[in-house]
Subunit: 408 residues, 2 copies
């Protein structure tokens, strides 16, 4: 038995090089906006995890007794541990601007794009009710998608729960029906107006009410708070921000603005999703503090980067393989490898002088290393180096400075 568990993945070197670069770029932007990193353990007491997410969620949790007999569980998201952290560290200065990039575990039915172990990347400001904090989250989303990931076509949709409620009120919907009507409206990005209309009729609305709902949503405008958020966001250079009155998202806990990001191509669903949740931390057993934040879907982002080949020309993996012609020329090759590494070029050296050159080249090919260096007896005599471009097959003979310049 040498297998990963169903729903669990190895991240192999090819995928990891993109994931790790993506995380490091995201982290850099988070820090530029004054956010700080937090990491919490994989395991928590069951008392921390249970009674927070509802029964359905609890069925998916990895719960067990540890070797000391304590009832423990693997973390299910990053928000409950955040609430627990703040409760445990009462003297945390507020606002607390934290980000957290860690795996969570859910024993969900595995399917394409859904895993039992996956990374969440959450960024939140806790303890600020200012619209500037909402705008900062939008600025970060925009900069992450634009400059960190290199997405050219994306839209940040924004709406707010109070705006949705006002529209319901304008359409004379009963308060008890707000949520169910809004849930149907949320589907307008995937379903036609007729289909949504049919759904609303089935939910017990009369035709006149359905017409009123569509009209109210069409006429909906940002409220004062949302206007402030949008103004600050634009001042911070946020790109492609679009007021979208049909956007509803997970209605259960958001209290103010809500936002999500879609990319035009490829169709991977939303890449980010978040909003303001001023009551949630208290409900999760943490202190009663306002909060706003977003999650960034790293898996989806990496899928987009890979599919659109956005980072094809980046030097994030091994750049060059230095081959070894024979035992006598080993030291020559080693010196070249040293020089390339000192110049900051990611350099592998083939470790075995007995392996024939063809096999060494094949190794570079299999590892998708873009360049290969060969130093044979002739090159060694004249202090020259052969550089082979593996994608074109082109070869040129250069001195070491030439090689460094070419590969930098």
């Amino acid at each position: 038995m040498n297998q990963t568990l169903k729903g669990f993945r190895d991240f192999n070197p090819e995928i990891m090089s993109i994931r790790s670069e993506a995380i490091s770029r995201v982290r850099k932007i988070f820090k530029k906006y004054g956010f700080e990193e937090l990491q919490t353990p994989a395991l928590e007491y069951q008392e921390v995890l249970l009674g927070k997410y509802g029964e359905e969620a609890e069925k998916l949790m990895y719960l067990f007794d540890d070797p000391g007999g304590r009832a423990v569980g693997m973390k299910y998201d990053l928000t409950v541990p955040l609430a627990r952290y703040i409760a445990q560290n009462q003297n945390t200065p507020m606002p607390f601007k934290r980000f957290q990039i860690q795996p969570v575990w859910r024993a969900d039915k595995p399917q394409k794009g859904r895993y039992r172990e996956f990374y969440q990347c959450d960024i939140d400001t806790v303890g600020s009710a200012s619209p500037l904090s909402d705008a900062e989250i939008l600025a970060i989303i925009s900069e992450v998608l634009d400059s960190a990931f290199g997405f050219s076509k994306f839209t940040i949709k924004i709406n707010s729960r109070p705006v949705l409620f006002a529209a319901m009120k304008n359409a004379n919907i009963k308060k008890g029906q707000y949520n169910t009507v809004i849930q149907s409206i949320d589907k307008l990005d995937k379903k036609s107006k007729d289909e949504v209309s049919e759904e609303l009729l089935q939910k017990g609305l009369v035709k006149k009410q359905v017409t009123a709902v569509f009209k109210a949503i069409e006429k909906a405008q940002p409220d004062a708070y949302l206007k402030q958020v949008i103004k600050y966001a634009k001042n911070m250079g946020v790109k492609n921000l679009e007021f979208t009155p049909t956007l509803a998202r997970g209605l259960d806990y958001y209290t103010g603005p809500i936002f999500e990001t879609v990319v035009d191509k490829p169709r991977v669903g939303s890449v980010t999703g978040g909003g303001r949740y001023d009551k949630l931390l208290g409900e999760l057993g943490g202190p009663d503090l306002p909060a706003v934040g977003t999650t960034i879907g790293l898996d989806r982002a990496v899928d987009v980067i890979t599919e659109l080949k956005l980072w094809e020309n980046l030097q994030i993996g091994t750049r060059v393989l230095v081959t070894i012609f024979n035992q006598e020329l080993f030291d020559k090759s080693l010196r070249v490898a040293n020089t390339l590494r000192t110049a900051g070029i990611n350099t592998a050296i083939y470790p075995n002088p007995e392996t024939d050159l063809k096999k060494q080249l094949k190794y570079a090919d299999k590892k998708k290393i873009p360049f290969v260096v060969v130093i044979g007896p002739n090159e060694a005599k004249s202090d020259q180096i052969q550089l082979k471009d593996m994608s074109t097959g082109n070869q040129e003979t250069l001195d070491i400075q030439g090689i460094v310049a070419k590969l930098s």
Copy 2:
């Protein structure tokens, strides 16, 4: 109940900023030497984990049935998952130069410096029997401790199992006693010669044998393979490499060179440890391939960096807090924050214009943010900005270019 489990830690922002910087520097060096990152899941089938580490170890494992009734366990180290990965991916090109930085779990008795969840940072070359591969690991250790961490005083001790065995043979020790004698010799860095001598007598050696052992160890010299490793290592610029014939390390699975690193100050034990293990992967259920590598003790390294204040002047956290004088001057402050961020300076802005300035300064102080920017009505009129150095209390008035220059 809002507590972490015993033996589990939150990494708070202050510690995380050092940890995360340390990991990113280490990763950069690993990649420069042509190593690639691998990540494996937290959970493995129990069949993968059990029968590999011995009974004592298995008592410390987090083993349980998952919600689907599968017998699973949390990973105990990074070597068994590596063996499983290679067995599962038979077409992995060899040599496979991989590193892996992930948490592992052991339900050990928690004590100072020993946790139930801790990060391992392993780097190994699998599928190469060349001394160059051993030397590369030493070069990486040297560069990590020297340029990544900034340790000035460290020693990389090196020895090899065949050298130890030859010394045993020279001292006429019976083969069956090699391991127990070597285990005592290994203690010479902590115990006196007399104490070790006493221990050997208690183990059944006669005085003459003890004298012969000490003599053989003193006279021990690197064998041909180890000489090659040391030669290549020096060619790669390895610093502070010291042949140490008393070094033995975990004798159970090393087959060739062994090495570990100690720092002179503070006394934290070894910061790295590793060697060549040509039989282990096969024994762990992986393919029968030679391998060499090291583990880097991140926790201990971070302790040294913190205790010696090695990174005190690095700009790895939030560099400046931009305060908000009042609602009218909000936009001015926002513009300054934008400019600082565009210049790559980690900048927080206080989100609430109603909070008085004193409280905003106190926030910067608590968060240990080194600089604070104030833009009051006078400064706003003359396009000037006040910059306060929080460590000295000094204030100066500069224009925005001056501020950027000062903080970059």
